[in-house]
């Protein structure tokens, strides 16, 4: 029959030589005497040789005897004769043409029907790069581990599932556990589950998913063998270029001693503050005792003196609330002063309001008390004199003007109509203003009539420092 339609080609129809040519591994076929009968294209490309130089050549003579390798001899002469196949036989050799290479050799004996001698098929895979990468990776890992081990603070590296990949020597030593006890376990499972804190778990999840580092998460607990300890935990995501999986570095900083020092310092501060205020109370009491037997016109002076002593005591409290380490935040300090004066002088139902508009500036704590007393005097004057009808607004402003700081106390009251008011006893507050300004090295800026109310402007050089420039310590 001549009209038979052409058959679709199947895998069995494809010539073995076609397959051999497309295989990426280098293939050679040897006869029983180890002469090369054929090789594929990958072999010629890998070893930079040709069919003419290869076919018919004894394997050991090939390429100026570069294949005369003791390990290959062992494979071909000692292993293959006793086994039908060998897989993964590793040969490392310095090839004159391609340099030092690591080859993975698979060998198989092939017999054709009627041919008892058979052939040897060698598949040679160049794994040099893979082995080099593996070596490099191992070297990097050892380097990383040695760096990790030299860090004094205990640390662990976590997988995405929060299990521990590696723990530093410091971690193992401090927490008294072995590497085997940590590997593959979650931090929350360690010890007596001290680290199993919901807030910490929540933060740790965000480290990898949202790339949000953990900064100074504090945990205080009793640790087995360590006793009561305070640890600061810091964590961040670590990534390798080209690697999509991420890990987390979790560092445990033992801050027990620092914390204790802070607590001791706080206790001492409280004790000193307590004693200062008790002593101020005695001074106020002395004045009160004197005032009882003093003629009425002088009582007002005693009252003012007591109020100022009270203001100093309050300022110490406000300073501690506004502290930014070694400096005081002026904006927070002014707000505290305004709040305290509103509460003590005005009360909730007063029609007079004290407001604050201040730049973020810092003040030297040594000058915070005279600065506070200055604000106290100016504000008290405004409240006393500016609002005969009991309603109005006092604004406390601080802003930087060149190298100076300008403190402005503005009210929208009746203004200073009587220029002789300096002669009345209440005006003594202005004397104090002048003294405090002089103490702070500042000047009073003459303020013209700006419509309704009174404006007092004071320039204070070298008193305040911009926020952030100051030397600060952690609170």
């Amino acid at each position: 029959m001549s009209d038979i339609a052409p058959r679709t080609k199947t895998v069995s129809d494809i010539a073995a030589s076609d397959i051999v040519e497309t295989v990426p591994s280098a293939l050679i076929i040897l006869d029983r005497d180890l002469n090369i009968t054929s090789a594929n294209r990958a072999f010629y490309q890998t070893f930079r040789t040709s069919a003419d130089e290869t076919e018919g050549c004894h394997i050991y003579d090939l390429g100026n005897r570069q294949w005369d390798i003791p390990a290959l001899r062992t494979l071909l002469e000692s292993v293959i004769p006793h086994r039908a196949s060998v897989e993964g036989f590793e040969v490392e050799h310095d090839f004159p043409t391609i340099g030092r290479r690591t080859m993975l050799v698979n060998a198989r004996k092939i017999f054709r029907p009627g041919d008892h001698d058979g052939f040897i098929l060698l598949a040679i895979e160049d794994v040099s790069e893979e082995r080099a990468a593996r070596k490099e990776s191992k070297r990097n890992w050892q380097l990383t581990q040695s760096i990790v081990d030299t860090i004094r603070d205990p640390l662990v590296v976590l997988e995405q599932d929060m299990t521990i990949v590696t723990a530093s020597k410091a971690f193992l030593t401090i927490f008294g556990i072995t590497e085997a006890e940590t590997h593959g376990r979650r931090v929350s499972e360690l010890g007596q589950h001290q680290w199993d804190v919901p807030a910490l778990r929540h933060l740790m999840e965000k480290v990898l998913t949202e790339n949000k580092p953990i900064e100074s998460f504090e945990i205080e607990d009793n640790f087995p063998g360590l006793g009561r300890r305070v640890f600061n935990l810091n964590a961040r995501k670590i990534s390798q270029p080209g690697n999509h999986s991420h890990r987390m570095l979790l560092v445990f900083e033992d801050i027990t001693d620092r914390k204790q020092r802070e607590r001791d310092a706080q206790m001492l501060t409280n004790e000193i503050s307590h004693r200062i205020k008790n002593n101020l109370q005695v001074i106020v009491g002395l004045i009160a005792f004197e005032a009882r037997s003093t003629a009425q016109p002088c009582v007002q002076g005693y009252k003012a003196m007591q109020a100022r002593i009270g203001a100093i005591a309050q300022l110490y409290d406000l300073i501690s609330h506004s502290s930014r380490g070694r400096t005081i935040a002026v904006d927070a300090y002014l707000r505290e002063i305004a709040k305290t004066m509103s509460a003590s002088l005005l009360g909730n139902i007063s029609g007079i309001k004290i407001e604050v508009k201040a730049e973020a500036l810092d003040i030297d704590p040594d000058r915070a008390v005279p600065f506070g007393l200055l604000v106290n005097e100016l504000t008290t004057n405004a409240i006393k004199h500016a609002f005969p009808d009991g309603t109005g607004r006092v604004m406390l402003c601080v802003e930087r003007v060149g190298d100076q700081i300008e403190l402005t106390v503005v009210d929208d009251g009746v203004g200073m109509k009587d220029q002789d008011s300096a002669k009345v006893p209440e005006k003594r507050g202005s004397d104090y203003v002048a003294i405090f300004v002089r103490q702070l090295g500042g000047t009073i800026v003459p303020s013209g009539s700006e419509g309704k109310g009174t404006t007092v402007r004071i320039r204070l050089p070298l008193l305040l420092v911009p926020s952030g420039d100051a030397d600060r310590v952690a609170a």
Partner: protein
């Protein structure tokens, strides 16, 4: 006019406080520690209000303990606390409900206002 029990370990401060309170027409009773105060509170003596320092030399937070015991003995007693320390939330939690506080140093006028508020409450 009221009877106010003043509890303060500093004799001078206590005396001046009593003089001020007496100047406003009230009577005072005086104690330097918790035990002295409790014996007065256990006596049949009429007492309207307790004005106590929180930190007493014989007992830290002694004023807080005293106020709790005083309220058990006299449920209608009014309490005004004072201290030179900053009052923390932890400390406030130890206060008897509905009580008043006056920080040190206080002026006679601040004490007068506080006593007025205390007795009016």
């Amino acid at each position: 006019m009221a009877v106010i029990l003043v509890v303060e370990d500093d004799v001078f401060t206590r005396t001046i406080a009593e003089l001020m309170i007496q100047d406003w027409g009230h009577d005072t009773l005086s104690a330097g520690d918790v035990d002295e105060a409790l014996s007065l509170l256990r006596s049949p003596q009429h007492i309207d209000a307790l004005f106590t320092d929180i930190y007493l030399q014989t007992a830290v937070l002694g004023g807080c303990d005293l106020a709790h015991q005083a309220i058990k003995l006299r449920p209608n007693l009014r309490v005004l606390y004072t201290t030179g320390n900053s009052v923390t939330d932890k400390m406030k939690a130890l206060f008897v409900g509905g009580t008043h506080f006056l920080g040190k140093p206080y002026t006679p006028y601040q004490l007068q206002d506080s006593v007025k508020d205390l007795l009016a409450a």
